[in-house]
């Protein structure tokens, strides 16, 4: 227990520093704009996601699910998702169902107990990977355009792309504010088990506290942003249908999109053929 705690506090606080987190988030948001997945039309990907994000829930067929899983695993690799996201995915799947599956395997579970767990694990994994492919493979700006095409309100898509523009700035500012707390505050001694726990609590505490100045700073910035949006015609665009059309005219379904859908379709067809033969 002590060892795990020690590891936890060391790993999370020192190795997984905020700097590392920031880098991973940025990598995920901006670092993979040149992958096959990122170049696809967002609408095509959203439709694709509707299939792989929903259908697995309604199937109990291991082969079908395994087929889906292999495909979305392949797209996740194509999307070059950041390591941290994959790690969180693995952790999530394992903590949900994976550990039950392993435990029942280890303690002599037979097919009757193992298969339902395998089905559940595959479902969760497939849907998660499909989400990761779409939401982290596609840059948020394109995603918001895709959503707008399907009729999501302009405000939502503006918020997504604005968050996308502000993210690096906010993270850097958050880091600075947090640093003010770290340097000026007094950290508890971090030796011994109790010390480690106290230190962990302290760190969580200042992370929470640091949000307060961050929000005030952001509010201060937003004075200019609001005025600038007014000058730059944000309000006019929202009232003008023509603008929406112009925005969406950049979306084009290309040969690559068709190929992507065709390959997905072909693969699933093979899976169905195999299932019907068995």
């Amino acid at each position: 227990m002590e060892k795990t705690m020690k590891k936890l506090s060391e790993n999370i606080l020192d190795k997984l520093s905020l700097d590392f987190l920031r880098n991973q988030v940025l990598k995920n948001a901006y670092g993979n704009d040149d992958t096959v997945i990122a170049k696809l039309d967002p609408r095509v990907l959203i439709v694709w996601y509707l299939f792989f994000g929903l259908v697995p829930w309604f199937s109990g067929n291991v082969l079908f699910l395994a087929g889906c899983f292999i495909l979305v695993a392949a797209t996740t690799i194509l999307a070059r998702v950041a390591g941290l996201v994959l790690f969180l995915f693995l952790l999530g799947v394992f903590s949900q169902t994976g550990y039950l599956f392993l435990v029942s395997l280890l303690f002599g579970g037979n097919a009757e107990t193992v298969i339902p767990l395998l089905v559940l694990t595959l479902k969760v994994a497939t849907v998660s990977l499909a989400s990761i492919t779409v939401f982290s493979g596609l840059d948020p700006d394109r995603l918001s355009n895709g959503l707008m095409w399907f009729g999501c309100p302009e405000k939502l898509s503006f918020s997504i792309s604005y968050a996308y523009r502000m993210l690096p700035m906010l993270m850097e500012e958050f880091q600075n504010v947090l640093l003010s707390y770290r340097l000026r505050g007094k950290a508890p001694e971090s030796s011994g088990f109790i010390g480690k726990v106290k230190y962990l609590i302290y760190e969580v505490q200042i992370i929470v506290q640091a949000f307060y100045p961050l929000m005030l700073n952001t509010a201060k910035r937003s004075r200019t942003t609001v005025e600038a949006l007014e000058i730059r015609g944000y309000r006019y665009a929202a009232a003008n249908k023509k603008v929406k059309k112009m925005k969406l005219s950049s979306l084009k379904v290309t040969y690559d999109d068709m190929l992507f859908l065709a390959v997905s379709f072909l693969w699933m067809a093979i899976v169905f053929v195999v299932i019907s033969y068995i």
């Binding site: 996308y164 003010s180 000026r184 942003t225 007014e230």
Partner: protein, 561 residues
């Protein structure tokens, strides 16, 4: 033809007792390049917001008089229509950029106003603003100067007749400042745009502007051709506007009767050469400041650092850096953006760990110590003072570090610091809501609370007008008894020349020069390589005589008789 006509304009903010703008009458001809100068709070920004219609359409208050821009009455049309006539670039320009990539942002307004050729307009604007080829880059990959150009491009894309820029170069190094003004000049001369800048840097006014408007307590004192305006030394100084050093030098010479009485004061170095050419070099000895530090305080031994990047290989900042800083030194760290100044400070605070090498601070191995344990010895004041305010009043902010450490008499010490930094009346205010100069003073007070062995300041004079800069310099001198070793990273060469005893020049992660001010500013090779711009008066002196080393107007007056 006048592009701007203001008739008897008055404006009062809701709840304010005195009007921010008071009976302003002003006509600006098309194609002019105008600087608006004046005290803090004289109504410069308010006036500019009247011109683009934000007042009274977006910001309400008591509005009287008439303003017409490009023949259109601002009261009768909407902001959107005015935006196509008047472009505006804020002082905090990074907050007016709302899109993630460059071309997207440059064409954003055009798209919003449903112009079918919005991308083409965006591209053209980027080209006009010197950002060609950066279309697909992300906003956060741009340098400060490029971000400013992008904000300008966003305004230019609508092809307005008038461009207004609020303090365009306050945050930029000299190279970028020249670039911005070069582009404004081009927009003015080639495309015939009328340019209005709010500007403190009178050297730039002398070089680029055609007219100067002096605002005082909300009304126009005068509008004059730039040369005549800068000649009015007393009037300008009364409004906390400081004429170029060359002008000041000539002014004092004239006042002392050492030059004949009736001539127009020079505003630029070539003009100065003509006026001062008749003077003799008195050789008063070389003005020099040298560090006397002997005891090593911080040492870098073979330090290498690189950063993770979003894409590709980690970026190398330092490789094999060796450097010692001595106790009692006043060190200026200079070099262009991205040369590694901030990284060096972060290394000393233990925040960034070197990949290789060792750093010692008073014998403590910084490279293996947590920043928390170093905060007693080293303190850093960030470039952005807002990030230092973590409590809801500056009194609480100053007290915080002492309070949590149960320092004896922390209450009295807080009191003392408030007194020393002239913050007593403001002690219950939130730091964020103070003026620029007050914010800096508060952040300096917070920085020295624990009496650190070494104080690190990142750009302490950025974004400040010259009067406030002078005040900060005075504060720095006052602090000497608390913290005797101070390192400042800065672009402000006047600060460097007047304050520093040792100057370290960084260029692409290497120390390319390290020495006193005469050794650095006198070394033409280093000055050119690292893009250093010595104070104007220094350059003037050097031009007159190769042995002249004068950093202030006073020193210049003693050197030349």
């Amino acid at each position: 033809m006048n592009v701007l006509e203001v008739k008897d304009l008055s404006f009062t903010y809701p709840g304010a007792d005195v009007p921010a703008l008071n009976h302003i009458d002003l006509n600006i001809p098309k194609g002019d390049f105008i600087a608006i100068v004046g005290n803090n709070g004289c109504g410069k920004s308010t006036f500019c917001k009247v011109l683009n219609g934000l007042i009274p359409h977006f910001i309400t208050g008591e509005f009287e008089g008439a303003v017409s821009v490009g023949g259109v009455d601002t009261q009768t049309v909407e902001i959107g229509d005015l935006a196509k006539i008047v472009g505006y670039v804020y002082q905090d320009f990074e907050n007016q950029i709302v899109r993630p990539t460059v071309l997207d942002d440059a064409s954003y307004a055009c798209m919003n106003y449903a112009m079918p050729d919005y991308l083409e307009r965006g591209r053209q604007a980027l080209k006009n603003c010197g950002l060609e080829g950066k279309d697909e880059e992300y906003i956060w990959q741009l340098s400060g100067g490029q971000t400013h150009l992008l904000a300008l491009a966003g305004a230019v894309s609508l092809e307005p007749e008038v461009l207004i820029l609020d303090e365009p170069i306050a945050q930029l190094d000299p190279r970028h400042a020249d670039l911005i003004y070069g582009i404004l000049k081009d927009l003015n001369e080639r495309l015939g745009k009328t340019i209005i800048v709010i500007e403190h840097h009178t050297e730039y006014i002398a070089d680029y502007c055609k007219h100067v408007v002096l605002l005082k307590e909300g009304h126009v004192e005068w509008m004059l051709p730039a040369k005549e305006a800068l000649d009015k030394v007393e009037v300008l100084q009364a409004s906390n506007v400081f004429p170029p050093q060359v002008t000041l030098a000539a002014y004092y010479l004239r006042e002392q009767g050492r030059l004949e009485r009736d001539f127009v004061l020079p505003a630029t170095i070539p003009e100065g050469k003509e006026v001062f050419g008749k003077l003799d070099f008195a050789n008063p000895g070389i003005y020099e400041k040298k560090s006397k530090g002997r005891e090593v305080l911080v040492s870098f031994k073979n330090v290498s650092v690189s950063y993770r990047t979003v894409k590709g290989e980690p970026k190398k900042i330092y490789e094999g850096l060796d450097l010692s800083l001595y106790k009692g030194e006043k060190i200026a760290l200079i070099g262009s953006n991205g040369a590694g100044k901030s990284t060096m400070m972060k290394l000393m605070t233990g925040l960034v760990k070197p990949n290789k090498g060792e750093i010692f601070l008073k014998g403590i191995p910084v490279h293996e110590t947590k920043p928390e344990h170093l905060s007693k010895y080293v303190s850093m004041v960030y470039q952005n003072p807002e990030d230092m305010f973590i409590k809801d009043s500056i009194e609480a902010d100053i007290a915080y570090a002492m309070q949590v450490r149960s320092v004896d008499g922390w209450k009295e010490k807080t009191e003392g610091l408030l007194e020393r930094f002239r913050l007593k009346e403001l002690k219950n205010r939130d730091g964020r809501l103070l003026s620029g100069g007050q914010m800096r003073r508060a952040s300096l007070a917070i920085g020295i609370v624990l009496g650190p062995e070494i104080l690190l300041l990142d750009e302490p004079t950025a974004n400040l007008d010259i009067a406030t800069r002078k005040e900060i310099m005075k504060t720095l001198k006052d602090m000497e008894d608390v913290t005797d070793t101070v390192l400042i990273a800065t672009h402000d060469m006047q600060l460097v020349a007047e304050w520093a005893e040792r100057i370290i020049v960084l260029y692409q992660g290497k120390v390319v020069a390290d020495g006193s001010r005469n050794e650095i500013f006198g070394n033409q090779e280093v000055v050119e390589k690292a893009g250093i711009r010595p104070p104007e008066i220094f350059t003037m002196g050097k031009l007159l005589h190769k042995d002249a080393f004068c950093y202030t107007v006073e020193e210049f007056l003693q050197s030349f008789v």
